[in-house]
């Protein structure tokens, strides 16, 4: 780093005023804005989750069992799903952390299309505003679940059009981010950074972007057709008009299954970075992890039918999809094995990001293994659409993606804001989140095993196991919520502390740590930053 010049003023101070944020095309500022927006979405979705758990804590629930309140619960879980999926998990890692880190990691001054990046953020804001209007705009509540299955979403009076249009707009936001990342990784890598010298987070983001670009347009046309179905009664998905509701599920899952990997892949990338960094050791099986990201991206397009084994899909198609679903388990397993092998003979320290990464390994392993009975056709008959599925995908989505997001957030926080958070509080929050999470969702496996269906707002009080497990789950949810609050409080408190972060607090080796914290306006002081050493070359 050269001596302090005009170039070394960090990007927060380089331009001042609210307008410098509104019109900014700086990827770092857009990343920060995305981070704030998606964290708000996390809190909104989390609030709905807590209300769901409060209702299910007892069989009678907290809502009176009169017809007008039944839809309230249905609205809660629908909005929990819609907000968490479209407004939080999908943009959280790629668009918030990825936007900030990716150009730094490839050694570029910005993403390839900075204006499109800003457009992506504004589309996100518009989409979120439309979704908010759908919630509070006076339309009757949306009760379809985030899957919008027809014909129910056609017959219900809820704000389906508003919400689907919001998801449509958010889809474009996602596509723009994807295009930007692919082009940036292809064209703007620093001299010296060949494909197999890219940090693994870049591989993960690259695979994610492929999925965003290829799958999201299908969601677009699906939602357009759904809107047309409600306004013009086109009948393509409506059995009363000769259409086929199962075709809608094909359309929907062609997007939404790859979307599951849009959510988890960047999380896996972050874990690769964090584990290698805090083990002070070269990542084990770099090529295997990199290639498995791409393999997951490709195979994830072939397995959408496993959401539909019992949905009226042909049983032969079910056979094919079951087989392919097992195949997609392999690359994920390879990654887990590689991460554990990286720990071997390392020099491991347990800072907050590493605590989250290790919880990720624990939870994601459970999440992955509990997916196997769902991919097996005969056991899926029992478990399909029960709480087992709920538990399984929360282990993958929350235990995987969100924990990885927390890990990445703590890992890159010093780089993003230039301040260190309180390490002890961070670890305590991590432990509370870990415990709360397991109490919440492990109990749901038992519910699913004994046949408790999803999306029920009440349940059999005579079944003691159900009462107990729902009770546990609800207690756990509040512990989890408390942990997340501490986590964010700790991070926000760090902004007002005077613990200035060094440029490379963790001793990591990728290019993003070579700039100052927070980075300067055009990321690097040098005109053309050159990659000096390969990633993960710890001595």
């Amino acid at each position: 780093m050269s001596t302090t010049t005009q170039n070394d003023v960090n990007f927060y101070q380089a331009k001042k005023g609210i307008m410098s944020w509104v019109y900014t095309i700086d990827h770092k500022r857009i990343g920060i804005m995305y981070l704030i927006a998606s964290s708000l979405a996390l809190f909104a979705g989390g609030a709905f989750a807590l209300m769901i758990r409060a209702q299910l804590a007892t069989p009678g629930g907290m809502l009176p069992m009169t017809p007008e309140y039944k839809d309230t619960y249905n609205m809660w879980f629908t909005l929990h799903g819609v907000i968490m999926v479209f407004l939080f998990i999908i943009p959280a890692i790629p668009a918030a952390l990825g936007n900030f880190i990716l150009p730094l990691m490839v050694g570029a001054k910005d993403v390839a299309f900075p204006k499109m990046n800003l457009a992506s953020f504004y589309l996100y804001v518009i989409g979120a505003a439309i979704a908010l209007y759908g919630i509070v705009g006076g339309e009757s509540p949306l009760t379809t679940g985030w899957t919008f299955y027809l014909p129910y979403s056609k017959e219900t009076a809820g704000a389906v059009i508003t919400m689907t249009f919001a998801a449509f707009v958010l889809g474009f936001s996602s596509i723009f981010t994807g295009i930007n990342f692919i082009v940036t990784i292809h064209k703007l890598r620093a001299p010296g950074m060949s494909w197999y010298k890219m940090p693994l987070l870049l591989w993960a983001l690259y695979a994610t972007s492929i999925l965003q670009v290829l799958a999201t347009p299908v969601l677009g046309i699906t939602l357009l057709l759904l809107i047309a179905e409600r306004t013009l009664q086109v009948g393509i998905f409506d059995p009363a008009l000769g259409g086929d509701p199962v075709l809608f599920q094909h359309f929907f899952w062609f997007y939404s299954h790859p979307a599951v990997y849009i959510m988890i892949l960047p999380g896996m990338g972050i874990i690769s970075e964090v584990i290698s960094c805090f083990s002070r050791k070269v990542i084990f099986g770099y090529k295997a992890i990199a290639n498995s990201s791409i393999a997951i991206a490709v195979i994830s397009f072939l397995v959408w039918g496993h959401h539909m084994f019992l949905s009226g899909q042909s049983v032969y198609a079910g056979l094919v999809f079951s087989f392919l679903t097992f195949l997609v388990a392999i690359p994920s397993a390879i990654k887990v094995f590689n991460w554990v092998a990286t720990l071997h003979r390392g020099s491991i320290t347990f800072e907050t990001p590493m605590c989250y990464a290790l919880s990720f390994l624990f939870l994601f392993t459970i999440g992955g293994l509990t997916g196997l009975p769902l991919a097996t056709l005969s056991t899926d008959i029992v478990l399909h659409d029960t709480y087992y599925v709920v538990a399984h995908f929360h282990y993958v989505m929350f235990g995987g993606t969100v924990i990885a997001f927390f890990s990445g957030l703590h890992f890159y926080w010093p780089k993003m804001v230039g301040k260190m958070y309180n390490e002890t509080v961070g670890k305590i929050a991590c432990i509370i989140v870990f415990i709360g999470f397991n109490v919440t969702f492990f109990s749901q496996f038992f519910l699913g095993y004994t046949g408790m269906p999803r999306r029920y707002f009440t349940y059999d009080s005579s079944n003691e196991l159900w009462s107990q497990m729902h009770g546990f789950s609800s207690i756990g949810a509040f512990i989890l919520g408390f942990g997340v609050l501490i986590l964010f409080a700790n991070l926000i408190a760090s902004l007002f502390s005077d613990r200035k972060a060094p440029n490379n607090p963790w001793g990591a080796t990728t290019m993003d740590w070579e700039t100052q914290s927070p980075p300067v306006l055009e990321n690097f002081s040098e005109d053309v930053p050159v990659m000096k050493k390969a990633p993960y070359e710890y001595e």
């Binding site: 001054k109 994807g178 999201t216 299908v218 013009l232 086109v234 009948g235 008009l241 000769g242 075709l247």
Partner: protein
């Protein structure tokens, strides 16, 4: 080559700050555009999947539906779109050769063709509406038809309306680059927007190449 540029005629342009040279910028834009076109393929792909599924289920319905469309109008529109595609491609060539006037004329001719396409489409739609052929449940056709023919027309209207939307967006984009061409912003070293709009316009043509035989001809 840059020495040939008449700087009085063309406005020189700088490469954006985060690219290291013009080639990198051009290639990045082109890759970005191809990725965007990829999303368009997938978007229309959805409609085509619906088409194929229902065609395999109800072949008679689709034959009966296709007979109600006027293949002559479809053929005229195909010719119009292909012409516009040729002129668009040649317009890019003219920009590459620094012939501003000819490029502008070709671009405007492309716009004219696109408008012609819309006019023909308007007459087609109008005729359908007069006969009560509407998508889905609003289908109120009184002549001979299959019991679920509204499905065919749902797909017809969804596909062509989405395509028409793309034509309109494409026309606006061509007008935009025509205006910039007239100002002299494009020359052999910088013509990225023209190239991008050209790619987009060819996509519009590409989709019609499939829509025409599938909707109008195969009975």
């Amino acid at each position: 080559m840059s020495s040939k540029v008449d700087t009085n005629k063309f406005i020189p342009r700088f490469v954006s700050h985060h690219f290291s040279n013009a080639d990198q910028e051009f290639e990045s834009c082109k890759l970005g555009m191809w990725l965007f076109l990829l999303t368009e393929f997938m978007l229309f792909g959805g409609i085509f999947v619906a088409y194929v599924v229902f065609r395999t289920w109800y072949p008679e319905t689709f034959e009966s539906g296709a007979e109600k469309l006027d293949w002559k109008m479809g053929a005229v529109n195909t010719v119009i779109l292909i012409t516009s595609s040729v002129t668009m491609a040649v317009a890019i060539r003219e920009v590459q050769l620094n012939r501003k006037g000819r490029a502008l004329a070709l671009l405007l001719f492309t716009v004219l063709c696109g408008m012609g396409f819309l006019v023909v489409k308007y007459f087609e739609y109008n005729h359908k509406f007069e006969l009560g052929i509407f998508p889905g449940d609003f289908f109120s056709f009184m002549g001979d038809h299959m019991s679920n023919e509204h499905l065919y027309f749902s797909i017809y209207f969804m596909a062509t309306a989405t395509h028409v939307l793309h034509v309109i967006l494409g026309l606006l984009a061509i007008l935009w680059v025509s205006w910039r061409t007239a100002k002299g912003e494009f020359y052999e070293a910088y013509y990225t927007p023209v190239e991008m709009v050209g790619l987009y316009w060819h996509l519009v043509d590409l989709i019609w190449i499939f829509l025409f035989p599938l909707l109008y001809l195969t009975k």
